[in-house]
């Protein structure tokens, strides 16, 4: 199958949906003429023009609010927030407006909008350009969220998000943008709310998100040589969460390692661990292990950054602990 980058898969997904539905429009900082700060929207401005691909002022709250207004009018806006860290500037519009308006209006107003943003450290972008803030959205009723782990996933999930009648946040990953992977040329839609077992195994389950899926798969291959059989689940959707796939796997392996790039404390891995304990308490043969960011902002210097973010060695350590 042909291989394209994660960034290309994004622009392909958007282009396809824009061709299908004239209500789909894209707005954000530098998404137009530049084709996106991470080159995720190249060619769109040229194909669809400035009426449907809008470079905006540097106004994150404005961008999300504007997208909300468009969605209320029946359009299907895709709003890009250039770095996930800048979600902080739009939290009121996202949390108090977008996520609530359907509920507050007793269901009268629907909000089919997509917020594209990203997570991830690893580029020495320092504390204000490296955060992985997706876990906040697990704690925010009224909005869906997905975390694509590969070009294929990002294409399929983004297309589904655009067609979804709920607001959806798509958390891309900065370190994946230039990664290549197989993406079918034909229609590719991945349903939101379904996790995928990327590799079967019997000794221990890893549930991983975003770029950690790739790391976990590599580790699984590596440890296979030692006879350790790892099942790797790509969580894919944060909200709604596919609890069943996780529980089924844990019933089989009895051991669970959770890997997510956000700060571990208070993050999504705590929720998954607790959910598993609630629903499969008796199946656990060992404490659940969590792998994530240390409890600090992301430092700039590569030696420091490497120290605080999760990586294959840290996952390996957790796996070995779980199966001990």
């Amino acid at each position: 199958m042909r291989e394209i980058t994660y960034a290309q898969a994004i622009s392909e997904a958007i282009a396809e949906e824009m061709r299908l539905d004239e209500n789909v429009i894209l707005l954000g900082e530098d998404v137009g003429i530049l084709g996106g700060n991470f080159r995720t929207t190249t060619g769109l401005y040229e194909e669809f023009g400035e009426e449907r691909v809008l470079d905006t002022p540097i106004s994150e709250a404005g961008i999300v609010g504007c997208a909300l207004g468009l969605a209320i009018r029946g359009m299907r806006p895709i709003a890009e927030i250039m770095f996930g860290d800048f979600l902080c500037l739009a939290m009121d519009q996202i949390v108090n407006q977008v996520a609530k308006i359907r509920y507050m209006s007793g269901g009268r107003i629907r909000v089919p909008l997509v917020i594209r943003t990203n997570i991830g450290a690893g580029r020495s972008s320092a504390a204000q350009h490296s955060q992985s803030l997706h876990s906040w959205f697990l704690h925010t009723p009224g909005i869906e969220s997905v975390m694509p782990s590969s070009p294929y996933e990002v294409k399929g999930l983004l297309k589904s998000a655009i067609r979804d009648d709920n607001p959806v946040v798509v958390f891309e990953h900065k370190m994946l943008y230039n990664k290549k992977g197989e993406v079918p040329e034909k229609e590719c839609l991945i349903p939101i709310g379904i996790s995928e077992v990327k590799r079967e195994g019997g000794d221990v389950t890893i549930v991983a998100t975003s770029s950690m899926v790739g790391e976990s798969l590599e580790l699984a291959i590596q440890l296979e040589k030692e006879g350790i059989s790892i099942e790797v689940i790509d969580l894919r959707s944060l909200v709604p969460m596919d609890e069943e796939t996780i529980i089924n796997s844990v019933r089989k392996t009895g051991r669970l390692v959770l890997v997510d790039e956000g700060v571990t404390r208070g993050g999504i891995t705590a929720e998954i661990a607790t959910m598993v304990m609630e629903k499969a308490f008796d199946c656990l043969n060992a404490p659940i292990e969590r792998v994530g960011n240390e409890n600090t902002p992301i430092p700039f210097s590569p030696v420091l950054e490497r120290y605080v973010i999760p990586n294959r060695e840290k996952i390996e350590k957790a796996v070995r602990k779980a199966i001990k």
Binding site: E51, A67, G69, I72, D92, Y103, S105, G106, V239
Partner: protein, 318 residues
């Protein structure tokens, strides 16, 4: 101007007044959960502006939204039922006073976040531009909201893209307890229009015809594709910030009294009588009729059932 328009405006203003008085009454009798922010004293603004709108034009509103909603044609029964949390309310009891919406009437919703709807209005207007459907958006907010970042971001977008939006700043001099002069150095919020290169105008917000005229020009500009207009309406809220606030801790009785003398309804009534549009008895009959409508709404609301508790889990993700 057509007499029927004048009479309609008086009727709407009186409706707002009685509706709000009933809310206060319902509140003090312990029938209303939560709070509400009353619009008494500011009726001329909502009415003067909305009289220029068609049904499919849109408005965004604020925490102090009842007046805007009534002026845009909101159903009194559904509004009152929502305010007291009933199943028959606009939002089936999920929203309450601060979140009433009726998209069928172009009422995109009151909003509990000060200035929260200003960026949303940009999107509503952008949709009009893209669809080229001529629908105008009126975005209401207070002078206090003009110090929020969202105000700046939202209006900058409205102006940049030349959107069909009318920004209506209701300057009632206070944001809760804080006098305008203690929150911004400028005296006229309308000067801020310059920051966006759009026309900014100050009008007497207690003069419904002045508001009507200013809004008329603004709505026409919007329809002609000339972009937004900023209208600041000077006014005053008679009561406290909300139904539970006497509003006396931070302003002098003389100030309140002075503004009550400038009652927009009294003033408009005198004018209509003077101009022989309506006689005093006609006005009384109109008021009786309005009172009855509001009373019907109160009864409807009171007699309506509460939602079922489990409905709390509905109307969220589809």
């Amino acid at each position: 101007m057509d007499n029927s328009v004048l009479i309609d405006m008086l009727k709407k203003m009186v409706t707002i007044r009685y509706f709000e008085e009933s809310i206060y009454d319902v509140y003090t009798r312990g029938l209303m959960p939560g709070l509400a922010h009353l619009y008494i004293g500011e009726e001329a603004i909502a009415v003067g502006v909305c009289e220029n709108l068609k049904r499919d034009d849109l408005i965004t509103s604020t925490h102090r939204g009842h007046g805007h909603l009534i002026a845009k044609g909101g159903d009194l029964n559904k509004m009152m039922a929502e305010v007291i949390g009933k199943e028959t309310g606009y939002c089936k009891g999920k929203g309450g006073s601060m979140h009433i919406a009726d998209p069928d009437l172009g009422i995109i919703g009151a909003n509990g976040i000060v200035a929260g709807s200003i960026p949303i209005a940009a999107g509503l207007g952008l949709a009009s531009k893209i669809k080229n459907d001529g629908r105008v958006i009126v975005c209401f907010f207070g002078e206090g909201a003009s110090n929020q970042g969202a105000f700046h971001e939202g209006i900058n977008m409205g102006s940049l893209w030349n959107l069909p939006i009318v920004y209506v700043c209701e300057n009632n001099l206070y944001g809760i307890s804080v006098h305008q002069s203690r929150a911004q150095k400028i005296k006229d919020v309308a000067v801020r229009a310059k920051s966006y290169d759009i026309p900014g105008e100050v009008v007497d917000g207690n003069d419904v015809l002045a508001v009507y005229d200013a809004a008329k020009i603004a709505v026409e500009r919007a329809k002609e594709g000339l972009g937004p207009t900023f209208i600041e309406c000077k006014t005053y809220r008679w009561g406290g910030h909300h139904v539970g606030d006497p509003g006396t801790a931070y302003r002098a009785k003389e100030e309140v009294d002075m503004w009550k003398d400038k009652c927009p309804i009294k003033r408009f009534k005198s004018l209509l009588i003077k101009e022989r549009v309506l006689s005093e008895p006609e006005i009384e009959r109109l008021e009786e009729k309005v009172k009855k409508d509001v009373d019907v709404a109160v009864t409807f609301a009171k007699e309506s059932p509460y939602p079922l508790p489990e409905e709390a889990l509905e109307d969220i993700i589809i």
